[in-house]
Symmetry: C2
Subunit: 450 residues, 2 copies
């Protein structure tokens, strides 16, 4: 017989035990909201359990009697880059059947600063849990804040920390991982995690919101529920989950390396590029409709973890009138991605036009001084092809990498950072960049028009 | 009674006169192909006239007797930047009812170099005219090569020359102007011409091809015919005409400032951004279906011409881990466009995260030293909004320009070059950049989701 309500004698910070069938949860009571009990577990994680799932509630220790060793604080920013995280302790219920929610900040975990009307990201996992009692109907969850910053402030070092945190969650045996993330750079992070976390045994799903929770049009509820469904599914890969259209009926699950933010404000801002999304998710029906092939849970029992990265990589955006001297300013970089025009071009001036400002000589000087230069298409959609026009052939001749690749400039940038974290030799970098590692390069399309 | 064929006595370079009703064309005979006579007129332009339109052909002078003063050569690259072009002389038929085709190079005016299989742009207006006899059914035309280079080799100085050439065509009384252009940077040129040529009395239509003429899937015929229909229509603005889908049934006419190449190889690579296309064109039916409002022929009798431009403008693409020192390297520029994430963000680090690499200080230093910094959305679709998040508000406070603007980074770059060609004062540059000039900024969308 399920619990009706939390007894009034139970107050905040009381240590309680919840008995839910065979499972036991033990932790500090935070609140009961929207029909769910929110607990802070002894490892600092929060969890939310629906009253209707609770058979029995036992008081272990009154709040007033807590000693400091037992007091629980959220583990915010506690791990520094490079410091190996301790294995996450199993919570009272074990972690074998729960989804781990890690927050990095962003609108989906934000509140509005009413004095200015501006939106600030805050750690508010408790609020999230109590706000969305449906979560507990999908799966037991654990939640933790890793960062609480705007996603445009994230750097490759943050990706490293996030990858480590995810590894610890996987080690602890979770069903899947959901990352709450700001949308500005979510596709960069999803690409980075795709390279750092290969052969995933469980799903890793990034999710954000385009609208803050105070707005009627907020997409946080649908996106979060859909992400949890994805994290519980058999799609064992790094993916990104956001609205499929401006309607509130479904989300799309995009492959982490093949997705891009393509609108500043719309809820369906993220689009798969040069690939179908992995699946469509209908949160109300709790249904997942596969749209393309994916790596299945259970096929890769062992995670391949490698979060080494080289941040000394830049992006050069080609455009008419770009000053050749700008290229020279990347001389102290280990690599650059050139977002070229069309099939992957910059000015090479084969017709020796007097008004042209060719940059190919400057690119050659970079390459000759061992800066790796990778081409990606600024058209976003489509593929680099350095064989069709003379400009492409000239670029290939001087050693530009990337012919045949259909990655976005953003994914190419992240991949180059990751590859240069391991390898510096030109031939090896070229080979790794031009070989598919995490779905970022697809086979040449069979569509007649490409 | 129309002409059946060209008499065999007429050979190349013979000067002939064609009588077509009230109209007379006089020039050097080039060839007769696909039922059309190709003439080189005395001003260097070529024209093609259908045999079925010719009432009479008269020989004026045999080729062997030409004196050098009479010899006609194409005017390739004959005008230098800054040199004021002479008014184009009226051809024998006058220019009052003809469309001027200007070629700048690109695939649409290309041939394949069979030794390597690579495609080279060439001046081949004669071939174009004889290849597409349908042209003559739409309108009398004049054709001229201005440049013959790959579009990725075009610079702001080329835009200036092209604008001058178009002005001369308009002065000579043409019905409309069609620009043959490489597709790599066609959207940059269409934006530049939109600012340089305001209050157009006639249509100016840029057109390219994604596939070279030797390929069965070449889109050059449909695009060219559609562009000519657009040039004859009442749509008196700078537009860009390309395939609407991968089918060969229609083209879309996009506004010059609101279009972007969004695929490297597909024939429907160009998409309107943040605005509907102007019209859909059905070349077989010779029908134009308007899709949105446009400036009508006859509303602006006088062209506003201003091709001043400042090439000392760059583009900085924001991304996680961008090195703050890179921003400093734009110190000697007059202006830069920042392609920011989301609503127009870079790392501002309001939460003082230790791993963050904020660039806002470097941007402020640029602005303080009078470099104009304009924000545009790297999401391409959507609008800069510097009021929603703290990052945006901080950027607005230091003087970043562009709040509320929905131009693409490419159009913002071209506009900044043009604005800085006239104006250097911060307040005036800010006002001009944030005010709609050529359709590049639309009113805030009324769509519920934006």
């Amino acid at each position: 017989m399920p619990l009706d309500k939390v007894p009034e004698t139970i107050v905040e910070k009381d240590i309680i035990r919840l008995v839910c069938g065979e499972t036991r949860y033990e932790g500090a009571f935070i609140q009961c909201k929207n029909g769910a009990v929110i607990l802070k577990l002894s490892n600092g994680y929060n969890t939310g359990i629906l009253l209707s799932h609770i058979d029995n509630l036992q008081l272990i220790e009154k709040a007033i009697e807590h000693n400091s060793a037992r007091a629980i604080h959220p583990q915010v920013n506690s791990k520094k880059n490079g410091e190996k995280g301790k294995p996450a302790p199993k919570d009272a219920a074990g972690n074998g059947n729960s989804i781990s929610i890690l927050s990095s900040g962003g609108t989906i975990s934000s509140r509005v600063e009413y004095t200015t009307g501006a939106v600030f990201p805050v750690l508010d996992v408790d609020e999230l849990l109590s706000e969305f009692p449906e979560i507990a109907q999908i799966s037991p969850i654990r939640a933790k804040s890793v960062f609480s910053i705007l996603s445009e402030d994230l750097t490759p070092k943050h990706w490293q920390v996030l990858a480590e945190e995810i590894r610890e969650e996987i080690k602890s045996g979770c069903t899947g991982v959901v990352i709450l993330h700001g949308t500005d750079t979510m596709h960069y992070t999803s690409a980075a995690l795709s390279f750092m976390l290969q052969k995933l045994p469980v799903p890793v799903v990034l999710v954000g919101a385009q609208r803050s929770p105070d707005r009627g049009s907020s997409d946080n509820r649908q996106n979060l529920i859909s992400a949890l469904l994805a994290a519980k599914s058999d799609i064992a890969t790094v993916s990104l989950c956001m609205h499929s259209t401006v309607n509130d009926d479904s989300c799309l699950l995009h492959l982490g390396t093949k997705v891009r933010k393509l609108h500043s404000s719309r809820r369906d801002a993220f689009k798969s590029v040069n690939r179908l999304p992995i699946a469509k998710i209908f949160p109300k029906e709790k249904r997942i409709e596969p749209l393309s092939s994916y790596d299945k849970r259970g096929n890769s029992p062992e995670l391949e973890f490698d979060n080494k990265i080289n941040g000394n990589v830049g992006l050069l955006y080609a455009h008419p009138g770009i000053k050749p001297q700008l290229v020279d300013k990347f001389a102290d970089y280990d690599g650059i991605v050139v977002a070229g025009t069309g099939f992957g071009h910059v000015s090479t001036n084969p017709s020796n036009d007097k008004l042209a400002l060719p940059v190919i000589g400057n690119l050659k000087a970079l390459i000759d001084s061992d800066v790796k230069v990778v081409m990606a298409p600024q058209t976003i959609f489509g593929r680099v092809n350095l064989n069709v026009y003379s400009a492409g052939r000239l670029l290939k001749e001087i050693g530009v990498i990337g012919d045949g690749c259909d990655f976005t400039p953003e994914t190419a940038l992240v991949k180059l950072m990751w590859v240069l974290g391991h390898e510096k030799k030109y031939a090896k970098v070229k080979k790794e960049m031009e070989t598919n590692i995490a779905g970022e390069i697809t086979e040449r399309s069979l569509l007649i028009d490409e």
